[in-house]
């Protein structure tokens, strides 16, 4: 039995996951406008980083217009109430990057690993806690692991001192029933709050978000207009409306967040955030959402159908961060065709 008006904390990732959809080209004015709007709407956690987290600006993941430091300073200059939050993927970002982020005013860090690799995050979580940050452990591509494995990995995060453990449906591959069993298992197994990060590849981002809170999640992610990797994320403004209707309390003002989405975020979008064939296949084949735009580019270069590249990446069980393998697959397919 869920108590009514249970409080759900929303992490808005427009300026982090949303960065994928603009190929990491947010400028300082856009960042300040979006972060300021989110803060005014009452969003408690405002995530801003390269889409692949601190240190993500690279040939492999795409160079950002701004340095991590510029991104964070632009956001922190306007945030008054919310916690500026950063993403860090050990193996890409380092503890040095986290110190810089803290100096720029970041008050929360989400340390993300593949769903089976939590033990590479111990140092980064420890450092975040030492610097007084709220630390989230974030298990990516959670559809690839059973609830038992997820529980074991989440317990590692908890043992490192995480304040919240998350599972991310990074491919948008889960059905509401998949979300339910995983969140329920986690809520039973760990003593810290549990969160869920949805993707829209199968058109289920909001349904899955609702399934997560019904199963006991206390944190959920969204982005304005769903801006994000692949088919995008749960739309923050829709999630707030749905959670309100379902009797949950988010502390976010619905009209203000709707206006941020329509007046500030929508004008900076480079393409409609919809489920196109390639992103549908990401959900269907379980492929990391951020691969989408890189796949479009490789498909064009090697004259291939992006769908074929994505299906092969799924077959090979590529994980987050392996954007280079898009080229490998495309190259191999082009060779075979000859």
């Amino acid at each position: 039995m869920m108590e009514m008006n249970r409080h759900i904390r929303v992490v808005d990732s427009t300026l982090r996951d949303g960065s994928h959809a603009v190929s990491h080209q947010f400028d300082a004015d856009q960042i300040a406008a979006i972060a300021g709007g989110l803060d005014k709407a009452g969003v408690p956690f405002i995530e801003a980083s390269h889409g692949d987290g601190l240190g993500g600006s690279s040939i492999n993941y795409g160079r950002a217009k701004l340095t991590d430091e510029q991104i964070l300073r632009a956001a922190s200059s306007v945030i008054e109430k919310g916690a500026l939050t950063v993403l860090l993927l050990p193996g890409i970002g380092t503890q040095e990057d986290l110190v810089m982020a803290s100096d720029c005013g970041a008050r929360a860090v989400r340390v993300a690993t593949h769903v089976t690799e939590a033990d590479i995050a111990e140092q980064h979580i420890g450092l975040g806690k030492k610097m007084g940050m709220t630390a989230f452990g974030f298990l990516m591509l959670a559809h690839m692991a059973s609830p038992e494995v997820i529980v074991e990995q989440a317990r590692l995060f908890e043992s490192y001192g995480c304040d919240v453990v998350y599972i991310a449906d990074s491919a948008g591959a889960m059905l509401p029933s998949d979300v339910k069993v995983r969140i329920e298992a986690l809520v039973d197994a760990v003593s810290v709050p549990v969160g869920f990060h949805a993707h829209a590849s199968l058109g289920l981002a909001i349904a899955n978000t609702l399934a997560a809170v019904d199963a006991g999640a206390q944190y959920v992610d969204g982005t304005c207009r769903g801006l994000g990797g692949g088919a995008g994320n749960a739309q923050t403004e829709v999630a707030v409306a749905v959670l309100n209707k379902a009797g949950f309390e988010t502390g976010i003002d619905l009209y203000t967040i709707m206006d941020v989405a329509e007046d500030i975020v929508e004008p900076v979008m480079q393409r409609p955030q919809v489920v196109r064939n390639a992103s549908l296949i990401q959900g269907y084949a379980g492929v990391y959402s951020s691969f989408l735009l890189h796949t479009y580019r490789a498909a064009e270069k090697y004259r291939l159908n992006p769908r074929d590249i994505l299906v092969e990446l799924g077959r090979r069980k590529m994980v987050g961060g392996q954007e280079d393998m898009i080229l490998d697959v495309a190259h191999e397919m082009a060779q075979t065709r000859r």
Partner: protein, 290 residues
């Protein structure tokens, strides 16, 4: 033919794999496997007739004929071992992240650091990618090098996992110091797929002079050089140009001496260390060593 006596400190997976590689050497013999407890690695060495000790480095220091010592313990123990080995006049090949001596990538800079008495083997990603960066740099001038190393989760040990920043930072430095890039960045990804994936390394560089033919020839020659000591090192995607940017992908299949074949990341470390030992032994035998 006379063989130079070598010892291995640290009878774990790396030390055991190294033991089999040195047993095949024409110039070295394993004179001792040293650990601190009676571990499976010590038992294994004993069972094939290698002298062993569980008293750590002491018996190696006391053994006057041991000239080369491979240290596969850990960064902290090596900080203790290094000065002792130096004082005892023994050459150290350091497979830990301690990096007291210069970085060595055999295909690239072995001759340039031959005066050293302690050689650091960088990282597995460094051994796999620095040769490519160097090969491109010598014909095209590398302004920026970035590598992505993907290794199977099963072959990433606790040392790597607990200190993953050490991998990215050391590898990035080696891309510059040994590879010749002006700026370097390294990324590591662990993939748990079953059956385990082979180690794959992608090398992106930005160059001053994008001459595709020269770059391809230089890289192909370099791949052959690395193959002389890492037989499972292969070009997966030849250097491919896009304006001033070059992408090259290599893979490393292990020799399967002691570690499974998918552990190319560990094999390239032990193979490179054995190659350094081989060169040192050759120098000693030629009389130019100490």
């Amino acid at each position: 033919m006379e063989k130079i006596k070598a010892a291995i400190l640290g009878p774990g997976n790396i030390g055991s794999d190294l033991m089999y590689k040195i047993m095949r050497s024409r110039r070295m013999q394993v004179a001792m496997m040293a650990g601190i407890v009676d571990s499976p690695g010590i038992q294994r060495a004993k069972s094939i007739g290698i002298p062993t000790t569980t008293d750590g480095i002491g018996p190696i220091l006391d053994h006057p004929e041991i000239r080369i010592v491979f240290d596969s313990t850990g960064a902290r123990p090596h900080l203790v071992h290094a000065p002792l080995l130096k004082e005892a006049g023994k050459l150290a090949v350091d497979l830990t992240p301690a990096a007291i001596g210069p970085y060595v990538v055999p295909a690239v800079n072995l001759d340039k650091v031959s005066d050293a008495s302690n050689f650091n083997m960088v990282t597995c990603g460094g051994q796999a990618t620095v040769p490519i960066v160097h090969a491109i740099n010598r014909v095209a001038g590398v302004v920026y090098a970035e590598i992505v190393a993907a290794i199977s989760s099963k072959s990433a040990g606790p040392g790597t996992r607990q200190n993953i920043d050490e991998f990215t930072q050391t590898t990035a430095r080696a891309l510059c110091v040994v590879g010749g890039a002006k700026k370097g960045k390294a990324i590591i990804v662990l993939n748990p797929a079953e059956p385990p994936l082979m180690m794959t390394d992608t090398v992106y560089v930005e160059v001053e002079k994008p001459d595709e033919k020269a770059i391809r020839e230089s890289v192909e020659e370099m791949v052959r050089t690395v193959q002389s000591y890492v037989p499972g090192y292969r070009l997966r995607m030849p250097p491919t140009l896009d304006d001033h940017r070059v992408v090259t992908i290599v893979e490393v299949e292990g020799a399967g001496d002691f570690l499974p074949k998918y552990s190319g990341n560990l094999d390239i470390m032990t193979s490179a260390a054995a190659a350094v030992g081989e060169a040192l032994a050759e120098r000693i035998l030629a009389g130019s060593g100490r």
